[in-house]
Symmetry: C2
Subunit: 342 residues, 2 copies
């Protein structure tokens, strides 16, 4: 029995219009989660007619009063801040406002990442003491475990203080959600020595080493996949570029196999034989498998999914939101951030 669990009812809003396969995947995945955990009170926000159609098509029984209509949709390529202003009745704005107004405990969306980020930060607001919320990305390592990188795109030109905040919040998330005791934290840098780095990393090193966090020093680009530390902190500019690079590796591998197969008939057969093995081996290198990433630092639970989220990914995101609620993550972050206030 996990004593951290409150197991009280938790109202989770899911953006039915978010993601490339919306509303189908969002609606079906969210309902699967609510069926698995009876303490989830699910609210679907989006175009009611489209939501009802998915419910009917899939013979799903869902109370009409838990559907909140929102006529507008923020597209994947809309400019986040402009869309927030222009589309007040979009599922993302309406959903975030439900959390802001304490009418819901968590918001989950596989829609426009930037818009979700902006809506969560601007509408739900920041946890007191947090200068910048952060998005983490979980990457598989050689050791068979995972390394979570903060920040991968929530903000650029992070100040040293922000990197400290990422470490504090990431550490709590790793302890509570990944069950890693005293998770190790590395500062992403161009060398291992304390004297290495740019101005921000040099100052961040000073801040981090004077905490009781399990800060193990600088890590380099190669340490992420090696699994040197559980958590890696860096400016969002670096983290975002690194994550998008990592996500593109599969494309290069596929292209290389295709061109090799095209060279000769025997190569084609070889690739055919290797393909199944490769697929299995690389399955957990496919970053899209992991579902949503948490946005940490907002004063309410917010989970942002990949645009291509599957039904399972959406389901896992909703269950993750519930877990964050049960484990009282927002308050734990608030308490911890207070301890590191200037």
């Amino acid at each position: 029995m996990n004593l951290n669990y409150t197991n009280s009812k938790c109202k989770i809003v899911v953006d039915a219009m978010g993601g490339d396969y919306a509303p189908h995947n969002a609606v079906v995945g969210a309902i699967e989660a609510a069926e698995e955990d009876q303490n989830i009170i699910l609210v679907l926000v989006g175009r009611e007619t489209e939501i009802v159609k998915v419910l009917n098509d899939n013979n799903l029984d869902f109370p009409k009063e838990q559907i909140v209509n929102a006529d507008e949709v923020i597209g994947m390529h809309d400019s986040p801040t402009a869309a927030l202003k222009a589309k007040k009745n979009s599922s993302i704005v309406v959903g975030a406002n439900l959390v802001k107004n304490n009418e819901a405990d968590a918001f989950v969306s596989a829609g426009n990442t930037g818009a979700m980020m902006a809506a969560s930060t601007l509408l739900i607001g920041r946890i007191p003491g947090v200068g910048r919320p952060t998005i983490g990305a979980t990457i598989p390592t050689e050791k068979g475990n995972f390394c979570t990188i903060y920040d991968v795109g929530a903000s650029v030109d992070s100040k040293p203080r922000h990197l400290l905040e990422y470490a504090v919040m990431g550490s709590i998330y790793a302890e509570e959600i990944f069950n890693i005791k005293n998770p190790t934290i590395g500062l992403l840098n161009v060398g291992e020595e304390e004297s290495k780095g740019n101005k921000v990393s040099l100052e961040a090193y000073e801040l981090l080493k004077n905490t009781d966090l399990n800060f193990t020093g600088n890590v380099e680009g190669r340490d992420i996949l090696k699994g040197t530390t559980d958590i890696v902190v860096c400016d969002g500019f670096v983290g975002n570029i690194l994550l998008k690079f990592a996500e593109s590796i599969m494309g290069l591998l596929k292209a290389k196999f295709k061109s090799f197969a095209g060279e000769s008939f025997s190569n084609k057969i070889r690739v055919g034989l290797a393909k199944g093995t490769l697929k299995k081996v690389l399955k957990d290198m496919d970053y899209q498998e992991y579902g949503g990433v948490p946005l940490l630092g907002t004063n309410g639970i917010s989970i942002i999914g990949h645009g291509s989220s599957s039904v399972l990914a959406i389901k896992n995101m909703v269950l993750r939101a519930k877990e964050m609620y049960d484990k009282n993550l927002i308050h734990k972050i608030e308490d911890s951030i207070k301890r590191y206030a200037n």
Copy 2:
């Protein structure tokens, strides 16, 4: 016939002590290059006794007067700037000084990258108008060609002006050495839109778009392996982290295959069958295959090799140095940089 080629004699100094397999690989590779191009006057710098031993062991005929003795060696883990001061008689310092004093045209080393960088910049000096020299890394793309990233570690906290310099120098290198006409240049950023990015990238965008370089705008992390542009410019902090991450991908792949093979006997056989194919396919993803990277912006040719450089890698580095000499690269960079002076 390439009219750019001067085909005059070129004196190239090779650090015999540089690299994990020194002095063997350095000496043998350098001599192979000099045999291939009779216009190379090779100078080997390092511990004379050790060099002579390699010559004797391999039955190589090499004039004693072209060996410059240097008793000290800067190790792979020595602190670059400290080592330059403490080890005045190291092969790296002696070699760089030969170029500085116009006693040689080029310097090639697979030794300590940081020390080579520092020796080249501080001793050989910068091309007039160049604020910061840069190291490039060449990465294979989905398209089957290459993308060269500048900077991957020569400097951090680059100013917008430095990113412009990287673009100018990288463009000349791509035209002259890779024979790419009017190479495309992307600015590494967190989004494609001109309005995206941190302070440095926003300013660098302004500088780059007002040149006659083939600047195509911002590129994201995923565009590198896609091969969106021939050249990608970024701050050395980002580039270095990215390169080291890229170099570590093979390690993750190997670990994943190993763990998959360990799961069952049939998996073991599958991996055995796939291994050969995979090896062939991934060969050109192995970044160590490419040999040396050019250091651009120093007022003399300087090529820095990977520590694990093979005989072939060293040979290619020496031939590359000769090509840079024949194509008058230093003066072309100087002329071009002048055109973009404030």
